[in-house]
């Protein structure tokens, strides 16, 4: 047995790195951002535990957005891509069994949602959602079409860069995270007020997937690599400090 024990506590979230709640250029944040200080305390069992999602939850096409909403024999329209990467923790360890859920607009920049009003056409063969669970080394893969940029009501002429939303469940509720993946070279990235909520170019780069020719399938699909990092859990040779010691 290893001398190193997982004490269970999660490393605090770096609030100087994560976006602030209030980012006025993203107008909706103004009335939806808490104004009082957050209450900080070390994680407890409630944050160090997490629901279990087994691999058998996942259907064969759940991570294939080209086919998972398509009529038999048909497929979604748009540039065919594979997105792959690993879910890691801050110590660089792979996170196995993590549930990833992803959603996106279609190739024209249109979401399949009743409150969506953009005039771009819906693709009858594209639903826009998928999910998967990471393998033993934290790796995952999905296949989709590259989403299009789209306009949104914020400034008079704001457009979102092409992006895929990711929701991630690790091993503790403290790790719960939702973020967005952008594509290398998209000129909208530096114009977007939502991207601009990030505090540094390094943070933007951390959400920008690179074209990965090694994983591209010739004559079929290009590939992009996107790693995701969740909060890390402390390890120590020493047991938890008991009261009075």
């Amino acid at each position: 047995m290893s001398l190193i024990k997982q004490t269970g506590g999660y490393v605090p979230r770096d609030r100087n790195w994560q976006p602030d709640a209030l980012t006025p250029a993203y107008k909706t944040s103004i009335k939806r951002s808490p104004q009082a200080a957050l209450l900080s305390f070390p994680t407890t069992l409630s944050e160090e535990s997490s629901p279990v999602f087994g691999h058998k939850l996942i259907g064969e096409l759940d991570n294939d957005l080209i086919l998972n909403h398509a009529q038999t024999g048909e497929s979604a329209i748009g540039p065919r891509i594979i997105v792959h990467g690993r879910v890691l923790d801050e110590m660089g360890r792979g996170v196995p069994g993590a549930l990833l859920e992803f959603w996106q607009a279609n190739a024209g920049g249109r979401y399949r949602h009743q409150k969506e009003s953009y005039l771009a056409a819906l693709d009858p063969n594209f639903g826009g959602c998928g999910r998967t669970i990471t393998a033993g080394d934290g790796s995952y893969e999905l296949r989709t079409i590259q989403p299009g940029p789209y306009p949104w009501p914020n400034g008079m002429n704001d457009w979102r860069p092409a992006h895929i939303h990711f929701s991630i469940f690790g091993h503790g509720f403290a790790q719960r995270l939702i973020t967005q993946m952008y594509f290398e070279g998209d000129p909208h990235i530096k114009l977007c007020p939502i991207v601009d909520a990030l505090k540094s170019q390094k943070a933007v780069d951390a959400l920008t997937a690179l074209l990965d020719m090694h994983r591209t399938v010739p004559m079929d699909s290009r590939a992009f690599k996107f790693d995701i990092v969740l909060r890390g859990q402390r390890q120590t040779y020493f047991e938890n400090r008991k009261e009075g010691l």
Binding site: A21, S46, V52, S167, A197, L230
Partner: protein, 204 residues
């Protein structure tokens, strides 16, 4: 050059946006897939303990309900055991998932959870925490998910001894963390993102 700490940075958060339902509760969004939405049912059979419902609305700084919100809750079973892979203190209720996910109603913003009253769970130092549910809120305009806790207003003694509630700097804000009993097995927990009744949110 001195040594380096080779840690990675947590991936930065970005807003879940207005269409979080497509990814996390597609059937609610009208996309028929997966045979149902994850987290829609917290009970998979006859459960132990008191069955309860929790209803609420999440309000922005203008007192307008968030109608595009998603809220998740995570809690132990009635005996205080988590249905988690790392639960070592006992065997949790096999018919209870501990995890729920609900949308705000697209017209009214109201959310609802059908769950059980959680048992008490110890704090890391061994003191007991009052029964509570962990909640996490995402929506358009929220750059990073908001953590809070749902305690219960009919647990006076446990709440008074709770290691977290008892160290809140402004006691007048504690009621923002208490679900109000509205009937037998029925509780209401409204959440205010801003204003004089702003809910306490956690950095945890």
């Amino acid at each position: 050059m001195i040594q380096k700490l080779d840690y990675l940075q947590e991936s930065p958060s970005q807003t879940a946006g207005p269409y979080v339902h497509i990814g996390c509760m597609p059937n609610f969004a009208g996309i028929d897939i997966y045979g149902g939405d994850l987290g829609a049912q917290m009970k998979t059979g006859a459960v132990q303990g008191q069955e309860i419902t929790i209803n609420g609305v999440i309000y922005d700084g203008t007192n307008t309900p968030l109608r595009d919100v998603m809220i998740e809750i995570w809690q132990p079973d009635a005996a205080g055991l988590f249905p988690s892979a790392n639960e070592t203190r006992g065997t949790p209720d096999p018919n209870f998932t501990g995890w729920g996910r609900a949308p705000g109603n697209m017209e009214t913003g109201e959310f609802m959870f059908d769950t059980v009253k959680p048992g008490a769970v110890p704090y890391p130092d061994g003191r007991m925490q009052a029964p509570h549910i962990t909640a996490w809120i995402v929506a358009r305009g929220i750059n990073i998910g908001l953590h809070t806790r749902i305690y219960f207003d009919d647990e006076d003694q446990a709440n008074a001894a709770d290691p977290i509630l008892s160290r809140i700097e402004f006691p007048s804000r504690i009621p923002t963390l208490l679900a109000k009993k509205t009937g037998e097995g029925a509780y209401r927990f409204d959440i205010y993102l801003q204003g004089p009744n702003e809910t306490i949110f956690f950095d945890i």
